[in-house]
Amino acid sequence: MTDLSLDRRTLFKGAAALTLAGAVPAWARSGTAGLHPAPGVLSGDRIALTVGDSHFGTGGRSAHAITINGTVPAPLIRLKEGQRVQLAVTNNLKEDTSIHWHGLIVPFQMDGVPGVSFPGIRPGETFTYDFPIRQSGTYWYHSHSGMQEAMGHYGPIVIDPAGVDPVQSDREHVIVLADWSLVHPHVLLKRLKQMGGYHNFQRQTLAGLLAGKDQGLKDRMDWGKMRMDPTDISDVTGSTYSFLINGHGTPENWTGLFAPGERVRLRIVNASAMTNFNIRLPGLPMTVVQCDGQHVQPVETDEFQIGIAESYDVIVQPTEAKAYGLIAEAIDRSGQVRATLAPQIGMVAPIPDLRARPLLTMKDMGMDMSGMDMGQGGVIDLSQPANDSMSGHAMKMLDPSVAPDVPMGPGVATLSSMPADRTADRPTGLEDVDHRVLTYADLRSLEPNADIRTPTRSLDIHLTANMERYMWSFDGVKLSDGADPIAFRHMERVRITLINDTMMPHPIHIHGHFFQLLTGDDPTHNPRKHTVNVLPGGKISFDLTADALGDWAFHCHMLMHMHAGMMRVVTVRHEEDAA
């Protein structure tokens, strides 16, 4: 109740402040003609950034924000492959801050993770990052301190290739997706610790049962027996979030211009704290040409899901002089944001209705029943101890024998007994839509991979949780519990399998490296990524060449999962240096 009244007060104050806050940077202003030329873009070899406190508002609601150079999103930084750049970051906050250059290959001490790569930037101090630009593509930057990223501390990076860009376009727009709450992220996390389902207002109800919606009684009983909620798609939802495109909510309708017939490149970055989005432009197919800043062989689709911290570059070619909606829908369908591509400012495309909230299935619980003789149609038994007479591992939601190295305890409520490789699966909620949906298996890198050696070592990492207690970890151990670093030898090639023992997708990010996702038989063209969204109850494998010496962060990019402990330090050392 206190929060409600607080929100309202903020709202009144905010309404007054809204006109004062020119909160959006020039590149993100509505009605932009695109990036060539774009005002207010930071380029060159010396760039100054100042982190400070401001207000930010959308839809008439405004609250405290943490901004860079006074704006949300932060300025667009546009660099050139092969250059060197110095970025002087001044901290005007009353707390420490930092900037992590997400996806950029930099020396570890320039990676910007306080406590891992450097000490952080104290109030009043300036820290100068200095590194060569060794790549091209679409990336982003954000704070790695506190939860500042959830409060506006994020912005896009575009790096032009040294040579000819294999992606030719007549115009480009940067699309930065975000979620924004008036409530401080620490309060959001506290609420989740107090009540795991706090923000979920799309649960199954008795009224729904009587109306014939969602699961039938038997399924509800089965899931209730396991204390699992099939509507638990997102932790923080549209009940508190406004979803943003380039700092604009649906009412502000960010609009990017085009001329009919042009090839328009959209550089889409998901800078959300807690929201995976479904992206589509109804009536306009998209050709995906890049993912996580790495070129992929062009592939056409109608919709894709973008995990937090991923980026996708797509080409669209609108031929008619009409407005197209760019729809970013939260995967739990608790909200969406519409932006517009149009020949002129002021045109609007229709806003589609939110689609029905998806329900999780047994496959999302790591019990892939396909092809199994289930007897009584998939009866689940959780009360049986591990070595009981059930058919193998198939029906257990917590069978310690499937993960012998994961310590059991309050933080591990479930283990996927039969995790399926879900790289070719359509993501959560898009299983049955009646148009094309991109999967990871559709991604093939354009340039051949430099290192295609067969790994000499393999490593399983379990993504573990207790959603009711809101505990998140790797291998059942939170970073704060004194987990050892994950150690690599310099230049060794390791196959890593991420096994999702939870019912939520986890966008897992490794700093300082790109890995090659195992999506096909041809290692030469497996897509290179810095972040991979592991679907619920599934697994994903990638090959990693540990080519970057130093200490690096490795974590779930759901900000509150990371802060709950779903993180590790990764070390890369010359073999002879290791203790």
């Binding site: 109740m1 206190t2 409600l4 420490d96 001490q109 306080p114 891992v116 450097f118 000490p119 506190g146 996390l189 107090q194 009540m195 207002f201 199954q204 109800t205 008795l206 009224a207 396991m226 204390r227 959780l382 101890p385 917590l398 012998p404 190295d405 310590p407 059991m408 305890g409 309050p410 933080g411 067969t454 000499t456 070592r457 393999s458 490593l459 399983d460 009711e468 207690r469 505990m471 939170k478 970073l479 704060s480 519990d481 004194g482 050892d484 670093p485 994950i486 150690a487 060794e492 196959r495 130093g550 200490d551 802060h563 709950a564 402990g565 993180m567 590790r568 330090v569 290791a578 203790a579």
Partner: protein, 307 residues
């Protein structure tokens, strides 16, 4: 009698027993061990825990291999002041799972309309701590709106998560009313049973040597996203007569409630409902002898709020 108590505890805690038997030593010992790099490098997880196991994951021809030893240094300390790095590292570790949270929940604050004099009742709990270890206070009590406070108790508890669903609690309870006041030592278990039942059971040993057991359960049936019907039950059992408190040996009383609340916000929900309680055996006889009824039905209205 002892058998009755034992079986009641076992009945209510039954679902939690496998958990009690589990090895939960893994979860807390490491809380004090930071920074991580100073742990014994050869000891546990990432340093190839899989060697020697027959693991199914490597069905693609990639060997498990041998992981390098975990370095004992921190790379950034070669470039930045180690003392400054240590401070930053400690803050980072704390923010990666080691934060402290709290909650104060007034589950019931209600007016009870009933024959023979309306009453009031409260029940709430507060806690502070991490995921595993918490300090908690609990309080409940009731009285007559025109008369005296009849029951008032306060508990101070240590709570420890022992498995995904269950916590054990231990501590002290003091009853300010009725007179004479009593202080109890208590142990118990609480958690979430299959089918989403909130369950707790506590045993109490008083400073006079009396033994009591209390078990409670409730279930939240969501009718809509904000309208929740909550049936609840409480059973009290005594191991002996305690005449000065009006408690008879055996099943002393049962309380059943049905409350319908509307969550204007998760933290704020007014409710209406009915509450029925009845004393049994010796407790009922003591009540009648004192001119009180052995059972009472009340219409209740109140609020549930927390922060």
């Amino acid at each position: 009698m002892k058998r009755l108590i034992t079986s009641a505890v076992l009945l209510l805690a039954g679902t939690a027993m496998p958990a009690l038997a589990q090895d939960h030593s893994q979860m807390d010992h490491s809380a004090h061990q930071m920074p991580p790099g100073q742990e014994d490098a050869a000891s546990d997880q990432p340093a190839d825990p899989h060697a020697g196991h027959a693991m199914p994951a490597s069905d693609d021809g990639v060997p498990r291999g041998v992981a390098p030893p975990v370095p004992t240094d921190h790379a950034a300390e070669a470039l930045y002041d180690p003392a400054v790095m240590a401070r930053a590292r400690a803050a980072m570790l704390k923010e990666s799972g080691g934060m402290t949270f709290s909650q104060l929940m007034i589950d019931r604050l209600e007016y009870r309309a009933q024959k023979g004099g309306d009453g009031y009742h409260w029940e709430g709990e507060g806690w502070i701590g991490g995921d595993i270890n918490r300090l908690a206070i609990k309080s409940e009590g009731e009285g007559d709106v025109r008369g005296a406070l009849e029951n008032a108790e306060l508990q101070a508890l240590y709570s420890r998560a022992i498995d995904p669903w269950w916590n054990i609690v231990g501590g002290v309870r003091h009853d300010f009313r009725p007179q004479p006041q009593r202080t109890y030592a208590t142990v118990g278990i609480e958690g979430l049973a299959p089918y989403w039942f909130e369950v707790e059971a506590q045993a109490f040993l008083s400073n006079k040597g009396d033994v009591h057991v209390r078990a409670e359960g409730s279930y939240d049936q969501r009718i809509t996203q904000r309208l929740v019907l909550q049936p609840a039950a409480e059973v009290n059992i005594a191991a002996q007569d305690v005449p000065e408190l009006g408690i008879g040996s055996g099943l002393s009383n049962i309380e059943l409630g049905l409350r319908l609340r509307y969550e204007f916000a998760r933290e704020f929900a007014p409710y209406i409902g009915v509450n029925w309680e009845r004393s049994f055996g010796g407790t009922a006889r003591y009540a009648r002898a004192a001119g009180e009824r052995a059972s009472a039905t009340s219409l209740v209205m109140g609020i549930r709020f927390w922060f």
